[in-house]
C-alpha cells in the first residue's frame, strides 16, 4: 500500500485560461487567480469597511482601521522623519503579502508567495525604489552610506566592500526569506499529510502534527508580512537619513 509522495506538486502553475499574444504566454494561471482574489479582498475590506465612516466603528471598519493604524505606526516608528509619503506603498506591500500568505493556507489553494519570482519582483521593486529615493534626496552624497563615520582609512579598504555587499544582497535576502518560509511550511504540511495517508490507524499522529503546523504557518504568514514591511521601512530610513 505504497502511496507516492509528491510534496512539491502543490507548487505547480496551472493555466486556467490559456492566452497567447505574439508568442508570449500570458495565460491566466492559478497564481494570477489567487493574486486577483487577494487584491479583491483587500479592496473590499478597505472600501466597503470604511463606507459608513461612523465615529464609533462597526466590525469591518474596526478591522480596516486597525490594519491601517498598524502599518502607519510601523512606518512612523521605523522609517523615521518624512517617510509618511511612503505609507501607501508599505501598506500595499504589507496587505498584499499578508493576504497572499493567508490565502495559501486555504485547503486546495495555491500560495502565490511560494514562488521566488513573485517574492523577487516585490523585493527588487523595494530595492530599486529605495536606492532611487536615496539618490534623489542626497545626490552623489548618498554613497556616504557605505562609508561609516570615524573609521580609520586602513579599515575602510576592508569595510566599504563589506558594506556594499551587504547592501546589494538586500533584495535577495528579502526575496529568499519570504519564499523559503512559505516553501518550507507548505512542503512540511504536504509531507505529513502524505504520512497520514499511507499509515492507516496511526494517522492520528501526523494529523496532530499537521494541526500544530497549520497554527505555526498562520503565525509565519503574519510574521513574514510584518518582517517584509518593517525591513522596507528600515531600508527607507537608511536611504532618507544615511544612518
Amino acid at each position: 500500500m505504497a502511496i507516492e509522495l509528491h510534496p512539491l506538486q502543490q507548487f505547480e502553475i496551472q493555466r486556467i485560461v490559456p492566452l497567447q499574444i505574439g508568442g508570449i504566454d500570458i495565460s491566466f494561471t492559478n497564481s494570477a487567480l489567487l493574486m486577483t482574489i487577494a487584491v479583491g479582498l483587500i479592496t473590499a475590506l478597505t472600501v466597503l469597511g470604511t463606507r459608513k465612516a461612523a465615529l464609533v466603528p462597526g466590525r469591518w471598519q474596526s478591522i480596516a482601521e486597525m490594519s491601517y493604524e498598524f502599518v502607519a505606526d510601523l512606518v512612523d516608528t521605523n522609517a523615521g522623519h518624512g517617510a509618511r509619503q511612503f505609507l501607501p506603498f508599505v501598506y500595499t506591500l504589507f496587505m498584499f503579502i499578508l493576504f497572499a500568505n493567508l490565502l495559501g493556507l486555504v485547503p486546495w489553494s495555491f500560495t502565490v508567495t511560494s514562488h521566488i519570482i513573485v517574492t523577487f519582483a516585490l523585493a527588487i521593486v523595494v530595492f530599486i525604489g529605495v536606492t532611487i529615493i536615496g539618490f534623489v534626496k542626497h545626490g552623489a552624497h548618498f554613497l556616504r552610506l557605505f562609508v561609516p563615520e570615524g573609521v580609520p582609512a586602513v579599515l575602510l579598504v576592508l569595510l566599504v566592500p563589506i558594506e556594499l555587499l551587504s547592501y546589494f544582497i538586500r533584495p535577495f535576502t528579502l526575496a529568499i526569506r519570504l519564499f523559503a518560509n512559505m516553501l518550507a511550511g507548505h512542503t512540511m504540511l504536504a509531507i505529513f499529510g502524505g504520512f497520514a495517508a499511507s499509515v492507516g490507524l496511526l494517522a492520528i499522529f501526523p494529523v496532530g502534527i499537521n494541526i500544530a503546523l497549520v497554527g505555526l504557518e498562520l503565525l509565519v504568514a503574519l510574521l513574514q508580512a510584518y518582517v517584509f514591511a518593517i525591513l522596507t521601512c528600515l531600508y527607507l530610513r537608511d536611504a532618507l537619513h544615511l544612518h
Binding site: 512539491l8 535576502t173 529568499i176 526569506r177 519564499f179 518560509n181 516553501l183 518550507a184 510574521l223 518582517v227
Partner: protein, 75 residues
C-alpha cells in the same frame, strides 16, 4: 558516485545549517524572557523586536534549506 546519490548527500549536508537557526532562535527568546522577567513593564516595547529577531534568525536557517532544495531539484 552518480549524480543522484551525490545530490541526496549534498541536500542532507545543507540541512546542517538549521542548527544555527535553532541556536539563534533560542538566544532571541531567551533574551526576551530574561528582559521581561527583569522588567515586566517593558514587554510591549521588547516584544516586536523579539519577533523581528526570530524571523531574521529563522531566515538564515531557511537559506540553508533553500540551498538543499536547489541542490535536489534544480541541478
Amino acid at each position: 558516485m552518480d549524480l543522484a546519490s551525490a545530490k541526496m548527500i549534498g541536500a542532507g549536508l545543507a540541512c546542517i545549517a538549521l542548527v544555527g537557526a535553532g541556536i539563534g532562535i533560542g538566544n532571541v527568546f531567551s533574551a526576551l524572557i530574561n528582559s521581561v522577567a527583569r522588567n515586566p513593564a517593558s514587554q510591549s516595547q521588547v516584544q516586536p523586536f523579539a519577533f523581528l529577531g526570530f524571523a531574521l534568525a529563522e531566515a538564515t536557517g531557511l537559506f540553508g534549506l533553500a540551498i538543499a532544495f536547489l541542490i535536489l531539484f534544480v541541478f
